[in-house]
Amino acid sequence: MRRRLRAPALLGLILALALVAAACGGDDEDGGAATTAPVATTGGEFSMSICEPESLIPQINAETCGSQVLKGLFTPLIQFDPETDELIYAVAESITSDDQTTWTVTLRDGWTFHDGTPVTAQSFVDAWNWGAFGPNGAGNNYFFGPYGVNIVGYDALNPSEGKPDAKELSGLTVVDDRTFTVELGAPFSEFPITVGYNAFYPLPPSFFEDSDAFNEAPVGNGPYMIDGSWQHDQQISVVRYEDYAGTPGNADAITFRIYADLDTAYRDTQAGGLDIADVPSEQIESGRAEFGDRFIESPSSSFSYIGFPLWAEPFDNPDIRKAMSMAIDRQAVITAIFFDTLTPADDMASPVVQGYREGACGEACTYDPEAAKELFDSAGGIDGELTIWFNNDGGHEQWIEAVANQWAQNLDIEFRFESMPFAKYLGLLDEGLDNELGDTDGVNGPFRLGWVMDYPSMQNYLENLHGTQAGSNYTTYSNPEFDDLIAQGKRATDLDQAVSLYQQADDLVIQDLPIIPLWFGLNQSVTSENVSNVIIDKFSFVDIARVEVVGGGA
């Protein structure tokens, strides 16, 4: 599960942030959620800004805009409480396993799709099979494979050559209407928390008859159902689903307005035409003052870093890497360029996950120009020019330049930049993986990348970025001890035990420092006076079902 970028920020479109599900509408529904107790809802309507989704088929959609809408339209097996981060069983009654490899998923009774058909074990199994079937080209396909939860039979559906012979994952078995089993290729104790993501949403029978029609007017099992159909580049309207088996949403109706530009959406909120919008970074300072308590800030899971090509000299020397990390004044960059909208990174995993330790990175992540210079020189320094790589369509120029200048100043080196559009950039990084030995044609210097979590676990940050041959390990870092600790953590039956193993693995990465942790993200949103109780979760999604409409109307 790799990815993450704030891609071409030119029109402010945020692409390709594949995120995991989080709570929408789930309060405490411990007992039989089948009986919908009459809960007082505030009613009313509100609007919020999104960008044009790439798709409204949950197995295809892997960006934030569509995911935000899908969160209203669907309810997954499990959710997370946006405030306490607690795991809440939603459609699933339980997800259990004795060996962390074969999992039994039991569903609650009484859940229905918006067209009235029941949500059964088959709804999940069919949806997962469709997502995992290579030729369907689903964006979340990899979630079912080795980079994801690794369900048995994935390879047969995704052969490297030719057409697949199988159409179904052999690891999925329907036991009865409310039970199915999932067999994984390797033990994975955190399997239950991964299945809140889009890729694991159920699909109704109507989807398999006409998926194109479904994309225009999805039929889900969530607190809101689509009103009419998707009006491309304009809006998506949803209304409350009255037969919803979980906690119903507060508002009667929600309009997702599609903006191509973050700035326009923000100005529209100022003008009273919109209720909830994200804040463009250059407006954060003035927005704080202007919106007062209607300016909402919360931690997000995003993590930015600079990776090293460990196959190229002198970056194979950990002291050089450490010195370069110590020569960056993170807070200064954050203040000057990001208007204090980020927090300096002091661990390899974000503060939003369990196991994060404040200051874990220690002196390696602490600005100390003198010590950095000393270490840098004693390690032999860098011969000639340092080439710094970044993608030039994500608004990275300014901070990269600031970091480069700090290196130049503190370490007394010369530098040059190599930048290109993201697609090409990633292609080059992939080549780096193939040419580990002394390749100087590809990326041969520090490169920037970022990460947004798929599910709230330290392992999601550690294994994907640093595991040997892992999907997003662009540094080619490989440490058997680290791999072993992660594998042990994944097998662990007890969460605390798992976390402590992950922390040991985290320490190894900090010691070797294949990447320089830079900063963690924060979400900034503003709201109109029309709405209250706007909660933004760790995945940067608004919990739309909880939003209360105060009155008036935008």
Partner: protein, 307 residues
């Protein structure tokens, strides 16, 4: 006349092929794999990648890709985007929006521009004339995005008179963007009308008409204005063509889901089929508008004949 039109339309054919090929080749030349761009940092399995490459003919050489594309167009198929939407549907959705915006801008710039130009032209050197000169200069000097933001902040956020984004409120949504979009052309129209009118008001036939004792309204309306309008009509015609092909900046600022915004997004996503489709439709509109303008000359000036 008929032969003239036929000849003009025949000339459109090489223009069509040349323009589509150039645009197609330019999109083809954008570095990076579009499927990869679409997928961001997510890994994509080899079989899915292969599938998508085959579906969109991405592994073919340029000429073969272009040939397949043109073959599709001849059969009424403008292709699909990488996300599977037919391009023809996108055009059906976007062109009406841009058309409404263009029409609004056109009406605004036509009426206000002509009115201001005539007013200034008839009273050369007057206060009105100088005011027009200064104000139009001023508008022409401001970039359109500044004008757009200014309009949004003043009329939208400050006084909340007009909605500032999207087309959610019917025709009133188009007011502000139309004014902003039309403002630059308004300057040209006003100044063109004024200069042309001043010129003609001093010509011999006007003096003759006045000497014959014709009423002033007839002198200005029938004799001076009709002749003065030829350059203005040319400009208006070409401008309408330009407006209908989409206004990237204005549509961007006001979040109007029209052709301009679509083409911008399509270029960024390397959606060749969308870019070429919209540009092709734009070229056709342009060719037709130009022909229309040329034909209009004959109406305004009976001395002009087409063979």
């Amino acid at each position: 006349m008929g032969r003239y039109i036929a000849r003009r339309l025949l000339q459109a054919i090489p223009v069509f092929f040349g323009a589509t090929f150039i645009v197609f080749a330019m999109v083809y030349a954008i570095p990076g794999d579009p499927i990869r761009a679409l997928n961001g940092e997510r890994p994509i399995s080899d079989s899915a990648m292969q599938q998508l490459h085959e579906r969109y003919n991405l592994d073919d050489p340029l000429l073969v890709q272009y040939g397949k594309y043109i073959w599709g167009i001849v059969h009424g198929d403008f292709g699909k985007t990488f996300r599977g939407y037919p391009v023809i549907d996108i055009m059906k959705e976007k062109f009406p929006v841009t058309f409404r915006l263009a029409l609004g801008a056109f009406v605004f710039e036509g009426i206000v521009g002509l009115f201001a130009g005539i007013l200034a032209g008839l009273k050369r050197g007057s206060f009105m004339d100088n005011l027009l000169l200064i104000s139009t200069m001023f508008i022409a000097a401001i970039p359109v995005f500044v004008l757009g933001f200014l309009a949004q902040i003043m009329l939208g956020i400050q006084f909340r008179i007009f909605p500032i984004a999207g087309i959610y409120n019917g025709w009133i949504s188009y007011v502000l963007p139309s004014i902003v979009l039309g403002s630059l052309s308004l300057v040209y129209i006003a100044r063109l009308t004024r200069t042309s009118l001043v010129e003609n008001m001093r010509s011999d036939y006007i003096r003759t008409a006045e000497a014959k004792g014709l009423p002033r309204s007839r002198v200005v309306g029938r004799h001076a204005l009709r002749n003065s309008l030829i350059p203005v009509v040319t400009y208006l015609g070409v401008d309408l063509g330009t407006l209908m092909v989409g206004a990237i900046i204005t549509e961007g600022i006001f979040n109007i889901p029209g052709v301009g915004r679509e083409i911008f997004l399509a270029i960024r996503g390397q959606e060749g089929a969308v870019v070429v489709g919209i540009v092709t439709a734009g070229i056709m509109i342009f060719i037709v508008m130009n022909l229309f303008v040329d034909l209009l000359y004959a109406v305004l000036d009976p001395r002009i004949r087409y063979e």
